[in-house]
Every structure is written in structure tokens, then in C-alpha cells.
């Protein structure tokens, strides 16, 4: 670089330029091992709402036998890891006053009473199985509706969330199947919505109710499904506020079937 160019920039960027002048550095590429991650999770007390590295598959057998119990409506064991992450309250406190944040990220439900000090390690497939068994009774689509669906929506997870779903509509009835949604243990719940957009703007929305184990919903009289274009699943705090929290987890376009 010529002296002129150099001196003009140095006044503002001298620090960076001194570092760059040392020449190219090797960017570190070695990743920390899974052991380090396990230590991090342990240090946080396991309250991370994330899948941990699979320890060994013997857990799977134990979980399978407990899925049956849980699906029969047995109260899920109190979550020993839920000394609640109310520190989140301080996060919300530091967020702008306009924040309409009404949710906390759900943590995996501890429906299995393992040794409470042992972190439960589960591969993704098992989480899905547990969630689907407990969150929603898998409805045989089409049969439940007594005929072919007229509209359907495939729901995909929004960035940062997991899960997927399918919703099928016939007349004013809806049958839905979702998988992969973690079950909140803090009273928050999932809610199903129909959305209507005009261009990019939300023009209207209607709640079809809580998602709480039954896969069938009724679209209220007077609501014309054809006017709505999107099916949405949100996570809501149990605070009595009926409006949409703004935190959508799954969403998909509503389409006519053939």
C-alpha cells in the first residue's frame, strides 16, 4: 500500500492495521470435542433444552417402556431439572419495554424417572416419538374426516425451532399431526391458528385452540377456511392473554388438495 493511502487510513484504523501488518494468521479450525460440550451442559445444570450427546442406547429401551405409561395420561414426573430458569425473567427485563415476548423456550419434558442426577441422553428420533405420543394422538388423517380433505397444510419449523406437522381440512373440521415439538414444563402451551395475509401484511387471524393431545379441531362457524392462507402453531404463555404471542414455532401454507 502506498504511503498516502496508508497514512489516511491509519488515523482511524491504526489498531487493526497493526495486526494485519503482521501477516496472515492461521484461523483456528480445531473444534472443541463433545466432552467439552458435555462439561458445559453439566455446568449449566442441564437446563439447556437441547439434546445432549447420546450416552448409550440403553436409555432408549428405558424410554420406550415409559412412553406407554406417559401416553396413558400418567402425570409426568416432576422435572428435577426445572429449578425454573426464571433467570430468563432478567433477560426479559433487559429487553425493550415494547417486547411482547410471552414465552420461554420449552425444555424437554422429563417424563422418564431416571436417576435424577443422570442427564437423559436421547437421539432425535426418540424425542420425536415421545413428543408425538404425548403431545398429540396421531390421528389417521382422512379417516377422521370421513372423506378426503379439501385443504391441507404442511407445517415446517421456523428458524431456531424443531418439528413439523400436517393439517388436513374437510368442511369445518381439521385433523392434525405434529411431531418433534418439545413439551413445555412451565405451563406454556401450543396454540393453533389460521392466518390471512394481504400481501405481506397480516390481515386477520383466528385461533383454533390449544394443542393438547387431541388432533382434531373445529373451525368455528362463520369462519371461512378459504379466506385464510396459512396455518400457524405458536407457543403461548398461560397468562390469560388470548392474543397471538408472536412466537410462531411451525407454519405452513394452506392449499387446496387437487
Amino acid at each position: 500500500m502506498s504511503d498516502n493511502d496508508f497514512s489516511e487510513l491509519e488515523a482511524e484504523f491504526g489498531d487493526v492495521m497493526a495486526i494485519l501488518a503482521e501477516g496472515p494468521q492461521e484461523t483456528p479450525s480445531e473444534r472443541p470435542s463433545e466432552d467439552v460440550w458435555a462439561a458445559i451442559v453439566a455446568g449449566v445444570g442441564g437446563k439447556l433444552g437441547v439434546e445432549e450427546a447420546e450416552a448409550d442406547s440403553s436409555h432408549v429401551a428405558e424410554l420406550d417402556s415409559s412412553i406407554g405409561e406417559a401416553a396413558n395420561g400418567q402425570q409426568s414426573a416432576p422435572n428435577p431439572m426445572s429449578g425454573p430458569e426464571r433467570e430468563n425473567g432478567s433477560i426479559l427485563g433487559s429487553v425493550s419495554d415494547n417486547a411482547g415476548v410471552g414465552f420461554e423456550q420449552p425444555t424437554p419434558a422429563n417424563v422418564v424417572s431416571l436417576d435424577s442426577r443422570r442427564r437423559w441422553a436421547k437421539p432425535a428420533a426418540v424425542i420425536t416419538a415421545v413428543a408425538a405420543a404425548i403431545l398429540l394422538v396421531a390421528v389417521p388423517l382422512g379417516i377422521a374426516l370421513g372423506g378426503g380433505p379439501e385443504q391441507q397444510a404442511e407445517l415446517a419449523a421456523l428458524d431456531g425451532f424443531d418439528g413439523a406437522g400436517v393439517a388436513e381440512f374437510s368442511e369445518q373440521e381439521l385433523a392434525m399431526d405434529v411431531e418433534g415439538l418439545n413439551i413445555p414444563d412451565d405451563g406454556s402451551f401450543y396454540e393453533l391458528w389460521l392466518l390471512k395475509f394481504e400481501g405481506d401484511e397480516l390481515a386477520d387471524l383466528v385461533s383454533l385452540g390449544r394443542i393438547d393431545g387431541d388432533g382434531t379441531f373445529t373451525v368455528p362457524d362463520g369462519v371461512d377456511i378459504d379466506e385464510f392462507s396459512v396455518v400457524d402453531v405458536s407457543i403461548e404463555e398461560d397468562d390469560g392473554d388470548p392474543s397471538h404471542s408472536g412466537a410462531s414455532v411451525l407454519r405452513g401454507p394452506l392449499e387446496q388438495t387437487t
Partner: protein, 199 residues
Amino acid sequence: MSTLAPTYAARSAPAVTVQGKSYPWGVLATLEDRLVIGDETVLRDIFDEHGSLVLGISRKLVGADAEDLVQQVFLAAWKGRARFDPSKGSLAAWLSGITRFKAIDHLRAKGRRPSTPTAELEDMDPVEPAVDRVVDRMLISAALETLPPARREVVELGFFAELSHPEIAERLDLPLGTVKSHMRRGLEALQRELGGSRV
């Protein structure tokens, strides 16, 4: 059967506001946003994205204790997530700053000598500026890789190949003004990274 009377909420969808930025419909895309909002699943993603930077800095500063330091840094980052201010700098810069802080603590506890001597720090006294240099170098090196390609190329040609602006313009077949603009923007971004590790 779940049936509710229709709940027609406000005509405009309630947006989530995080530090003055509005996100309609809970679409929180960046790691920074998810950290601020307290999304518990973000820590693993941050570990995947920035773990190698933190480990790389740690290796140079504390040698064999690097993995311990990485763990401490991520724990501190999680516990201190409410203090992360995206407007002050990037996540990488913030994590580098925490790494620097924890490394200095570690080195002080060990009597200002790393457990395994590393070339950068042996016989360097006081410790802090030496640590700063290591952190800064790694942070800038990682940040260079995130620059838009045109800016990165101009900065590298100017500093690593030591070309002048006119020489860069000729090499890349770009107008001189464009080269100057790329250089300035590139340096601005990198300088901001340095600042971000000092908060």
C-alpha cells in the same frame, strides 16, 4: 375436541421486539437474537459456530488447559447472556473478550506463567498486552473470513500482498474508488470487531 370461540386478535400481528429491533411472528434468525431472547437451544449452535475460535485462542494462551478454559468461557457466556449487547459488537468479539478475561484469571492464578509454556507468552510481562495481542490476531483472522469476498480480497491484497490501491484496482479490474471503498469498509468492520472484544 378442542373448540374455542373465534379469537380475533389485534389486526396487526404482535411483534417481538428485541433491543429495539422488531421481529414479526417470532422469527428469530440470528444467534445474537436468540441469545438475547434467552433461547436455550442457542448455546449449542454458538458452540458449533464459534467453538473453534474460542479453542484456538485458549490453546495459545493456556496450552493444555485449553479445554477447561473453553468450558469456562461458554458457561460464562450463558450465565452472562443478558449482558450481551449486539450493538456493541459481534458474538465472536464478545466471546473473545470473555476468553481473554478468563485466560488472564487463569494465568494469574498460575503465577503469570502458563501451565504449558506457549511461545507467545513465555517471558512476556505484563501478561495483559500479550494476551490482547493473541486474542486480537485470532479474532481478526476469523473476522476476515466473514467479510464479504470483495472486501476481504482487497484487504488481503493491501496488507498481505502489500499492494497499493492502484495496484489492487488493476489486479482485480475494479475502479480505484471501489477499491478504496472496499478497503475502508473492510477495515471498519474489522476495527469494530476489536472494539467488540473490549466491552
